[in-house]
């Protein structure tokens, strides 16, 4: 029971650290408007050194390394101000799917540029009628010679407004049960007939989009996997998604402790309020539990094992905690808590931001409810959901809103 690196791990960490110190120093921190440019240049730098996708084979531009090395580099990188989110979905989910199902020429064309941050990818799965129930999607693709003609709508597509390519799941057969009539393609997001409209989120930002397809032609050569066999391809993506969705960001017990020291409650500072202290302890226990659960995951990786189901609990805990803790801080600020101007708020409005972002975190990448189903079924071995739509043809399924 310790936190020590093996000698090889320590060596890798030292080398990564030395590389980071040298290269972060040479990396220009750019003003916020040029965040993307800074992200691209940092990604290119990492790619050149084999630190972009450490577990990918060298022949595809990766580091040819192990999962534990990837974790170690991530730990060290997190100590520097070079965290950018633009490439996570592409490199974590889309490109691995392309690598698993595309032909060699396609892979040669796309993997390198994605790795170097030159091209960005999006995941076009969700639709107005198909979120948790991904297989319920209705966007239709009809064969026309060497092409497929696509009509329909995708929604909640993160980053589509700055992306170049995407992987898209479409319906190619309505006469069979829903899982059996789907096909996956990769596509150029600037193809004629595609319209990308940013969606205004409740948090105020616009990080995701709706995408309309009007007679968009996708060549059959861009198909990933067999016709009507797209569900199998999508499962590969979704599996990678579960690995990629990380832990908590933003407000943590440490920040709320700092707030509580400076904030007055009814009887002296908030930190002296017994009820608040009890809640603070519970948040700390959860945050520590999550941190230490990651240590157990890393241990499994370090031993060359596949991490166990314990890593599946991260998002449920982190997203709920962020919501709870953020709200407690906002409530503690009293009337003042309704303000949303970062300039006027403690910690630049960190807690207000947490409250407004948390709902999305509890939904994206699998809702709380779906994740609990997964724990119940895959970890505990309880029966699957009753599937009234299992054998019916897709065209006969009842539709709600």
């Amino acid at each position: 029971m310790d936190f020590n690196d093996t000698p090889e791990e320590a060596g890798y960490r030292a080398a990564a650290r030395a590389w980071l110190e040298k290269n972060v120093a040479g990396h220009k921190a750019l003003p916020h408007a040029d965040d993307m440019a800074a992200a691209r240049s940092w990604q290119a730098r990492k790619a050149a050194a084999g630190y972009a996708q450490i577990t990918w084979p060298k022949e595809w531009g990766g580091g040819g390394g192990t999962p534990i090395q990837s974790v170690i580099f991530g730990q060290e990188e997190a100590k520097f101000p070079v965290q950018y989110g633009y490439f996570t979905i592409g490199l974590g989910m889309c490109v691995p799917t392309v690598m698993a199902f595309a032909d060699d020429a396609t892979k040669r064309r796309f993997v390198g540029p994605a790795l170097r941050g030159e091209e960005i990818w999006s995941q076009l799965f969700s639709e107005p009628a198909g979120g948790s129930d991904v297989a319920a999607i209705r966007t239709r693709a009809v064969r026309d010679g060497d092409d497929w003609v696509v009509n329909g709508q995708k929604v909640w597509t993160s980053g589509a407004h700055y992306s170049d390519y995407g992987i898209v799941l479409v319906r190619t057969n309505v006469d069979v049960p829903k899982h059996k009539g789907l096909t996956m393609f990769w596509l150029d997001l600037r193809s004629p007939g595609i319209e990308i409209r940013p969606i205004h989120q409740m948090s105020g930002g616009s990080n995701f989009n709706e995408i309309y397809f009007t007679d968009v032609r996708i060549p059959d050569s861009q198909r990933l996997g067999a016709v009507d066999d797209g569900w199998k391809v999508a499962l590969v993506t979704l599996m990678n998604e579960r690995l990629a969705v990380g832990g908590g960001t933003g407000a943590s017990p440490k920040e709320i402790l700092a707030l509580a020291k400076g904030l007055d409650a009814a009887d002296g500072p908030l930190i002296a309020d017994p009820a608040f202290r009890q809640r603070l302890a519970d948040w700390y226990v959860q945050a520590e539990g999550l941190r230490n659960t990651r240590m157990r995951t890393i241990t499994a990786l370090s031993r060359g094992q596949t991490p166990g189901p314990e890593s599946s609990i991260g998002k449920i805990i982190a997203a709920n905690q962020l919501q709870d803790l953020g709200n407690a801080a906002v409530e503690a600020e009293g009337q003042y808590g309704i303000i949303a101007d970062p300039a006027l708020l403690p910690l630049k409005g960190l807690f207000q931001t947490a409250v407004m972002n948390a709902p999305g975190l509890r939904i994206a990448g699998g809702t709380d409810e779906i994740l609990k189903n997964i724990i119940a079924e895959r970890v505990l071995g309880l029966p699957g959901e009753i599937r009234v739509d299992k054998d019916a043809a897709f065209r006969d399924l009842p539709v709600g809103r």
């Binding site: 029971m1 310790d2 936190f3 020590n4 690196d5 791990e9 534990i68 017990p253 440490k254 402790l257 700092a258 930190i271 017994p274 202290r277 009890q278 603070l280 302890a281 519970d282 700390y284 226990v285 959860q286 520590e288 539990g289 999550l290 941190r291 230490n292 659960t293 240590m295 157990r296 890393i298 241990t299 499994a300 990786l301 370090s302 314990e310 609990i313 449920i316 805990i317 409810e369 609990k372 189903n373 724990i375 119940a376 079924e377 970890v379 505990l380 071995g381 309880l382 029966p383 699957g384 959901e385 009753i386």
Partner: protein
């Protein structure tokens, strides 16, 4: 990174599980529950002593096995899983740890070998009234080598050969005998016994320095980690029982395990148990490596484990429906034990308070 049991520790743990499955099934636990005058299962106590478990973390020169505290944690997890009705925690986590922390050479040489051999049962007597134990709550005093006062409740106080008593000006060792009388109490968990102890000029020896509350807390910090593993073992067993039952019980034409209200309940138990496990491991690391983080790690482990075991034990009963509320069904054993373990070293609220004060100290430093 090695934040898990080692292979050897896993082997020890597996062996312990097999051993307890054979020697401590629910019938053994019920044997103690159903007999009013039975404080613990003597046969199990002897068997556990013969395995050497009582001396797991006691150095070899005091008759122990000289293994580490992580090994003791592994055994604690299995004892909790089996709901073992023996005075293991009082003797090993509290009294042996108190002796190792504060005992003189002579005290250690006299008592640790007897504890390791299963010849001496220990009890840790701190509480005198409802609420947390503070300096103001203490009325027991020692003068001229004897101690007088009352302690209630004292887990295993009725069967203890050696009692560590917290008095106003420090901790003391008291042997069963003249000046010590015990009155057995009814408790929420009759599979573990408890007594009111009355000391009337009982001969005592000093254990450690002047500040008894600080000494008690040091023992509690160590016990909290070990108890967290017992709680974790119990919580895991509750999840397993709930799952097994849910798969077998049918309602409305299917196993209740298929209903989301039950599935999500069990998923919630699982999540709490994993959080408790991860925090318990951190506590084990801090205890075993004598890390300065121990007080914070112990409080974290204890709060997480108390919450997990309580939740798992109550929702296990709920999952069992009516049968879960009967004397004959086993869920009650764990429900009772979860109350015992959550309170025996101070209630969760007290530990939350300690956790936050530790956090404040660390952030100020």
């Amino acid at each position: 990174m090695n934040f898990d049991y080692s292979d050897d520790q896993k082997m020890l743990k597996d062996e312990a599980r097999r051993f307890l499955a054979a020697k401590c099934d629910a019938k053994v636990v019920r044997g103690v529950l159903d007999q009013d005058d039975c404080a613990y299962d003597a046969a199990l106590w002897r068997a556990v002593a013969a395995q050497g478990w009582l001396g797991t973390a006691i150095p070899e020169n005091y008759g122990g096995l000289g293994l580490g505290h992580v090994e003791l944690c592994a055994l604690a997890e299995e004892l909790g899983r089996a709901c073992a009705p023996i005075p293991f925690a009082s003797t090993v986590y509290f009294v042996a740890e108190a002796l190792m922390l504060f005992g003189s050479e002579a005290q250690k040489a006299k008592w640790l070998p007897r504890i390791a051999a299963g010849e001496a049962i220990g009890a840790f007597a701190t509480s005198e009234r409802a609420g947390p134990v503070t300096q103001a709550s203490l009325h027991t005093v020692a003068t001229g080598g004897t101690l007088s006062g009352e302690k209630i409740p004292v887990t295993d106080g009725d069967v203890a050969d050696l009692i560590v008593v917290l008095a106003k000006d420090g901790m003391y060792l008291v042997e069963k005998g003249a000046g010590v009388s015990a009155e057995v109490l009814r408790t929420l968990d009759p599979t573990r016994s408890a007594a009111k102890l009355v000391f009337d000029r009982a001969p005592v020896e000093r254990l450690g320095g002047d500040d008894g509350i600080v000494a008690m807390q040091a023992v509690f910090d160590r016990a909290a980690v070990l108890l967290a593993f017992e709680q974790l073992g119990g919580a895991d067993r509750c999840l397993e029982m709930a799952k097994d039952y849910a798969l077998e019980r049918f309602a409305f034409g299917r196993a209740i395990a298929g209903y989301q209200a039950i599935k999500h309940k069990l998923a919630d138990i699982y999540v709490k148990n994993e959080i408790a496990r991860s925090n318990a491991y951190y506590g084990a690391w801090a205890l075993n490596s004598a890390a300065p983080e121990l007080p914070l790690a112990a409080a974290t482990a204890r709060v997480a484990a108390s919450e997990a075991f309580w939740f798992a034990s109550k929702e296990n009963i709920q999952t069992h429906g009516g049968i879960g509320f009967t004397w004959e069904a086993d869920p009650q054993l764990y429900y009772r034990r979860s109350r015992q373990l959550s309170l025996v070293a101070g209630a969760p609220a007290t530990w939350r308070e300690r956790l936050v004060s530790q956090l404040e100290m660390r952030n100020a430093a």
